[in-house]
């Protein structure tokens, strides 16, 4: 049976202070998706759209306001058991390793905690070898500051793999790394995913790597998933105005400079310096959307626009809708 992590109607609200008024920030608002073993799901979206919040909720670092998380169809068990199955790789490899401990320590602890049987030392070496940090004995003795960024991130990945998890959450795992080593790390995650049949959630800003490394892409805006579908579908045939904006903004040397300047109305959405606040109901992108109508303030149905390709936008509401 393949492992799945199913998230249903997940919400996370933060009380925030707006000048003198208090209001609720819906960082994540009714999000549902499934992570499947052996597959990478990418989560993209603009800064502040709630990507990290989802990851933190899934990693049990933050309590959700509402929603259900099922691991292999079961509701979540004790945190410790859960953590054995769901692990996380952080964005910043410099911050996610404790400067006071050796690489060996970072790997030994999860092995001990999760009762991995057998020789712990051997387990550590095995992990290091799996992420290509050889000779393992040498690396096990090093401190994080003696490693380069890429090496650190590999240690972080090894740590996440230590309890033999089924789900790996990776929150922008390479955005802090130099371009030249990003690919290596992504390739490593990809390989491990296949070797260990992991379900991977890959959070990123970078549409290009999202397309390359994942089978499915989910696009978030304002706490909601506004579009999802097979990677190539979403990138090459974006349906939601926000996805289109995102896609057009991404640098792509393959596309000639002039071609970027096509006027699809997105420019209007870009010209604003100030981000309008998120509306309380309806489509969150409405205030920036060139196609917005009054109807966008109402209920937004999720419609399928292709094979497994869904979008929450009234522009496509003509198509048969599948509520999620």
């Amino acid at each position: 049976m393949t492992t799945t992590l199913t998230v249903t109607d997940l919400s996370k609200h933060f009380p925030v202070r707006d000048g003198r008024r208090r209001r609720t920030l819906r960082a994540v608002d009714g999000v549902s998706f499934t992570l499947t073993a052996g597959r990478t799901t990418a989560l993209v979206g603009e800064s502040g759209s709630g990507k990290s919040t989802i990851v933190r909720v899934l990693a049990r670092l933050t309590r959700p306001t509402s929603g259900e998380i099922l691991l292999d169809g079961d509701p979540v068990r004790s945190t410790r058991r859960y953590r054995k199955d769901v692990q996380m790789v952080f964005q910043d490899p410099f911050a996610s390793l404790n400067p006071a401990h050796t690489v060996g320590h970072h790997l030994r602890r999860p092995l001990r905690i999760h009762g991995v049987t057998g020789d712990v030392r051997h387990g550590v070496h095995e992990l290091l070898e799996r992420v290509n940090l050889t000779p393992a004995e040498v690396y096990a003795r090093r401190y994080p500051h003696e490693l380069s960024g890429g090496q650190r991130q590999r240690v972080a990945i090894a740590r996440a793999l230590a309890p033999r998890p089924k789900v790996l959450l990776a929150d922008e795992p390479v955005s802090m790394l130099d371009v030249s080593i990003r690919l290596e790390i992504l390739n490593l995650i990809d390989r491990l995913k296949r070797e260990q049949d992991l379900a991977v959630l890959y959070v990123t800003h970078d549409l290009a790597t999202a397309r390359y490394f994942s089978s499915e892409i989910m696009v978030m805006y304002g706490g909601r998933i506004v579009e999802r579908g097979p990677a190539d579908e979403v990138i090459l045939r974006p349906a939601h105005p926000y996805t289109r904006l995102l896609e057009s903004a991404a640098p792509d040397p393959a596309t000639p400079r002039a071609a970027r300047e096509r006027d699809d109305g997105d420019a209007a959405a870009r010209r604003r310096g100030v981000r309008p606040p998120l509306p309380q109901a309806g489509c969150p992108f409405r205030p920036r959307c060139p196609h917005a109508t009054d109807a966008c303030a109402g209920e937004i149905p999720t419609v399928a626009v292709g094979e497994g390709h869904q979008v929450a936008c009234l522009l496509h509401a003509g198509a048969p809708s599948h509520r999620s």
């Binding site: 603009e46 800064s47 290509n132 940090l133 050889t134 000779p135 040498v138 690396y139 380069s148 890429g150 090496q151 590999r154 130099d178 371009v179 030249s180 080593i181 990003r182 690919l183 290596e184 790390i185 390739n187 490593l188 990809d190 390989r191 995913k193 296949r194 800003h205 549409l207 290009a208 790597t209 397309r211 390359y212 490394f213 990138i235 090459l236 904006l245 995102l246 896609e247 057009s248 903004a249 991404a250 640098p251 792509d252 040397p253 393959a254 596309t255 400079r257 970027r260 870009r270 010209r271 310096g273 100030v274 981000r275």
Partner: protein
């Protein structure tokens, strides 16, 4: 006629282990053009930018070379010789700079108005208060920010707005050159795009030359006229964006280009550049990229390569040195591939503990290798 010529510039951070951050860099910046400088973190890009704007502070010092600025009327200024009042007047009016992080480049406790007006008050003391106020408003208009925001403090602005304020500030005196040191790295892609377009528009309007620094090669390829690729304090390859993309001559450039998947294009072999950047405190002969270079051969460890014209670009790589390789560069390199397997030459000895580059191809759907 270049507005800025840099010849053989070297910068060293003093201390117990001096860091040779910029090593004999030569550049020409033409009036009105966009010169992109790309390179890995720590390769000396910012140091170069600070040297151009004379902002280096101890322990950094320029140890050699010269920087010449040519004003519109042809008058030449030896930038490195400027002192005191002269230097003060030269700054910003001639070369302005936009910093990487607008959050840090704006003083958090002074209002936007005062930070803008400061420039005007210093460089145009004759200007009346009212005129200054008006000009500040104009500047904000220019970058698409509401004038009312003049009274705001930096923390009250979004990241994109702050970056725009910085750009407005750079425009204040109509400078000849604007140095942009990673002006958009901290921003959301959408906002990043807005800012880039803003810069492009203003450049068209005022005609200043731009030195654009970033590690994001795909971005540079898109926006710059000419490109220089830096590695280990040196410029290893330069040329027009089109030429560089089409026919990179240096293995590092090849590797770098291979690190960026194309958003919409064909899927192709993707690989990183294994290994770590060089230690800039070591001054040894030889090519600093050699330890990571799949095409390195014996001479690479001994001879420091000089820039050579290779096709349409200029590259500092011994593979193209006919005296050392009469047969011409390795075919893999000629085919612009960056893999050990493809490398026909000797495999470089790796620094201890560096991983095998193995596995870097797995998982990537290879749609036919190199482009044609």
């Amino acid at each position: 006629m270049s507005v800025l010529s840099v010849r053989d510039l070297s910068v060293v951070y003093g201390g117990p282990r001096p860091t040779h951050a910029v090593r004999g860099v030569s550049l020409e910046l033409d009036r009105g053009e966009v010169l992109g400088i790309a390179g890995e973190s720590g390769c000396g890009k910012s140091t170069l930018a600070y040297a151009l704007t004379r902002l280096l502070r101890p322990p950094a010092s320029v140890t050699g070379g010269e920087i010449v600025f040519r004003a519109g009327d042809g008058e030449e200024v030896d930038v490195l010789a400027l002192r005191g009042e002269e230097l003060r007047r030269f700054r910003w009016r001639r070369i302005a700079m936009v910093f990487q992080s607008a959050m840090n480049a704006l003083n958090p406790v002074i209002s936007v108005r005062r930070q803008l007006a400061d420039v005007l008050a210093t460089h145009e003391p004759g200007m009346s208060r009212r005129a200054r106020e008006e000009r500040c408003g104009e500047l904000l208009d220019l970058v698409g920010i509401d004038r009312a925001r003049l009274s705001s403090y930096p923390h009250e602005l979004s990241g994109g707005m702050r970056q725009r304020v910085l750009i407005a500030m750079a425009m204040a005196l109509n400078p000849d050159v604007v140095v942009l040191d990673e002006p958009t790295t901290a921003l959301d892609v959408v906002v990043q795009r807005e800012i880039l377009q803003e810069i492009d528009r203003l450049r068209a309007m005022f005609g200043f030359a731009v030195v654009f620094i970033t590690h994001d090669l795909s971005l540079l390829l898109e926006i710059s006229d000419r490109l220089a690729v830096m590695y280990g304090g040196r410029i290893v390859e330069s040329g027009t964006a089109r030429d560089l993309m089409a026919a990179p001559a240096h293995p590092y450039t090849v590797g770098l280009l291979g690190s960026f998947p194309s958003l919409r294009g064909e899927r192709r072999v993707l690989h990183g550049i294994p290994g770590s950047p060089p230690d800039l405190s070591l001054v040894e002969p030889g090519c600093s990229f050699a330890p990571r270079c799949p095409y390195a051969f014996d001479a690479c460890g001994e001879v420091t390569p000089a820039p050579l014209p290779v096709g349409a670009t200029t590259a500092a790589c011994l593979q193209h040195d006919r005296t050392l390789r009469p047969a011409g560069p390795d075919p893999g390199l000629a085919a612009r591939r960056f893999t050990a397997e493809d490398a026909g030459g000797l495999r470089p000895s790796r620094p201890p503990g560096d991983p095998e580059p193995g596995g870097h191809q797995t998982g990537v759907r290879d749609h036919g290798g190199a482009r044609t």
